[in-house]
Amino acid sequence: MSSQPNCENCPVHHKGNLVRLGIDMDKVDYIVALAGNPNTGKSTVFNNLTGLRQHTGNWPGKTVGRAEGAFSYEDDNYKIVDLPGTYSLLSTSTDEEVARNFILFGRPDVTVIVADATRLERNLNLVLQILEITDRAILCLNLMDEAKRNHVEIDVRELTRELGIPVIPTSARRRDGMDELVAMIAEVASGKYICKPHRVRNHTPQLKYAIDTLSKKLRETYPGLPNAEWVALRLLEGDQSIIEALQNGILDGLVENETPMAI
C-alpha cells in the first residue's frame, strides 16, 4: 500500500494552491489578521504569504501602522493585515490600540498570532489576551529553528490542547511550516476547524462575580456579542475607548453585522 492517496488528499500537498496576490485585494472572501509580540517575524510571515517585500529587520517596532496584502488559496481570496507588534492589548499606546481595534472591530475571520518559540511564556501573555477577544485564532509558533538551536523544546500537542486553538510550528525565515499554516488558515476561516479558546480562569472570586454579573447584562442587551466577558472586564477597568464604543453604538454594529466590517 502506498501512502500517496492520503498525501494527495491533504491540502498541504498542493503547494500550487497558494497564489501570492501582492496588493491585489479584489473580491476578498476572508480577512486574516497577523498579530504578535514585536520582533517575532510577523512581517516575514506576511511576506511569505503575500509575496510582498515589506521591509523586515531584526528590531522591534519596525512595522508602524498596518500593512495589507492578499493571497489566494484553493479558490478563496484572503486579505491579510500585518498589525504592529505589541506586548499586550491592555494599555493604551497607539500601536496597541491599532492592533486591538482591528481584532475587535475589524472582526477578522482568522487571527494568526505569531509567537517567538524561544520566549513562549512572555508571548503567551498576549496570546491569552487575544483569545479573550476572538475565538478564531491560530498560533504560529515561529522561530522554531532558533528554539532548537537554544535547546528549547515545546510540546506542540499539549500546547494545542491547553490553548484550544491550532498551533503550527514554523521557521518563517526558511519558509518552514508555511504550507501547513496556509492550510490551517483556510480550515479555521471556513469554519471546518472549530476553536475552543482558553479563557483566563484564575480570577479572584469577587472579580469572577463582577465579570459574570456584567457580562450577563451585556448579553441581555446585545445578544450574540462574542466576547461579552472581555468587554465586561474592560468596563470594570474603566477602558475609555470601550466605554465610548458602547455609548456611540459601535459595539452594537459588532453584534448585528454577521459579515466582517468593510475596512
Binding site: 529587520g57 531584526n58 528590531w59 501573555n125 447584562k217 470594570l236
Partner: protein, 476 residues
Amino acid sequence: MMEQHKAKNTEEILGMANNLKWELGMGIHDKIVSSLYADAAQIARKTVSMDGDQPAFSLDRKIDRIVTSRWTGFPIMFVLLAVVFWVTISGANYPSGLLASLLVDTLHPILKSGADSFMPWWLSGILIDGAYLAMAWVISVMLPPMAIFFPLFTLLEDLGYLPRVAFNMDSLFRKTGAHGKQALTMSMGFGCNAAGVIAARVIDSPRERLIAIITNNFSLCNGRWPTQILIATIFIGGMVSPFWAGLVSTAAVVGVAVLGIAFSLIVSWGLSRSVLKGEASTFSLELPPYRPPRVLQTLYTSLIDRTLFVLWRAVVFAVPAGMVIWLVSNIHIGGLSLAEHFIDWSNPFGLVFGLNGVILLAYIIAIPANEIVIPTILMLTVLVTGMSGVGEGSGVMFELDSLASTENILRAGGWTLLTGINLMLFSLLHNPCSTTIYTIYKETKSAKWTLIATLLPIVLGFMVCFFTAQLWYLFA
C-alpha cells in the same frame, strides 16, 4: 423607540460597571494582569522544556554584556561604524573609476556626436552635456559606495545590532528630555531621513515625536555619505601620507557622524527645555536574540530595496538638475554666465563662513537631492577657474581619473583645508532634502513645524561654519 431602549440599557450597564468597580476596590488592573500571567506561566510550565544545563541564549547574554557595557559599548560602536566606512571608502574607488570611464569617457562622446548630427547645439547641450552627464556622474560616484555600504549596514541590522545601539544611546536621549526610542529613529536616519521621520511614529507622545522628527536631519543620510567620504578623502586624507590616508579620512567621516549625534542630543535638550517642554516618558526596549544573517537575501534586498531605490531617486533628481546647471552656465549676461554672476556676488558672503560661492550655488541647485552636490560643485569650479584640459567646456560635468585630479581642480578654485572641513560641516548641518521636508509636512500636518525643521539645521550650519572659519582665520 428601540434606540432609546438601547441607550437606556447602555447607561445601566455603565452604572453597573461603576458600582462593581467600587466594590472591587483599587488595583483591578493588577489583579487582571496577574491572573493572566499566572495562566501563561502555567501553560508554559506544562509545554516548554529546556534541555541540558546550558541556559538558553547564554552566548547572546555574553555578547550583550560586552556590546552594551558602560565601558566597551560606545568604543565598539565607533569601531564597527569605522570598519563599515573604511571598507566602503577603500572598496568604492576602483569600480567608481571604471564606471566613469565607461559612462563618461566612452559613451558621452558617442552620444554627443550622434546628437549633434541632427539637433541644434543648445538642445544637445541640455540633453547630453546637462542631463546625461549629470546622470552618468551620479551613477559612477554613488553606485559603488552604496553597493558596499548598504549590504554591510543591512547585515548589521539583520544580525540584531541596531537595537543594541539604541540601548546604548537610550539613557543619553532620556537625559535630554527626549524619548529613548529616538535612538531607533536616529539609526534609521543614517539610512534615509525621510524613513527616519516616518519611523518616529513609534513614539506615542506628540512632544517627543516632534523632537525626533526635527532632529532626524542630524543623522547623516546616505545621500550625504558620498559627499562626506569624497571631501574627507581629498582634503583630510590628502594632508597625510598615502599610507595613513584611508584611516585618517575614515576617522574624519566617523567624526562628522558622531558630531551629528551630538547635535541631535544638544538640539533635543534645547527643544525639550524651551518650545517643547516636558518629561521623558518610559518604554521597554527588548534586545532581540542575535540571528545569523541570511547573507544572500541581505545582498538581494539591500541591492534592490535600498541601493537601486536610492540610485533611482538620485537619477530622477540629477536629470533636471543637470539641465539647470547647463543653462545657468551657458546663458550669458554681459559676457558672464548666470552662474558666474551668482558666484562672484556670493563669494565674499561664502568666505565669511569658510565656504565659497560655488558651494552656495551648488547647494541651491541641489536642494531637491543632496546626492548631486559634489558633481555640481566640481563642474562649477571648473567653469569659474577656467582650467583648460579638464572637463569638456562650460557646463560639462566631467569624469576625474583620480582623486589627485579632483584635488587639483579644487585647489585651483581656491579651496583650502578649511573649505573642506566646512563643507563637511555644512553637509551635515543644512536643510533636509525636499523628500524629507515633504515627509515632515505629511507626518506633522503643520506648516510651522515643517518650517522649523527646515530652517533650524541650516541656521545652525551657518553658525557653526562661521565660528569654525573665524577661529581658523584667527590662528591660521
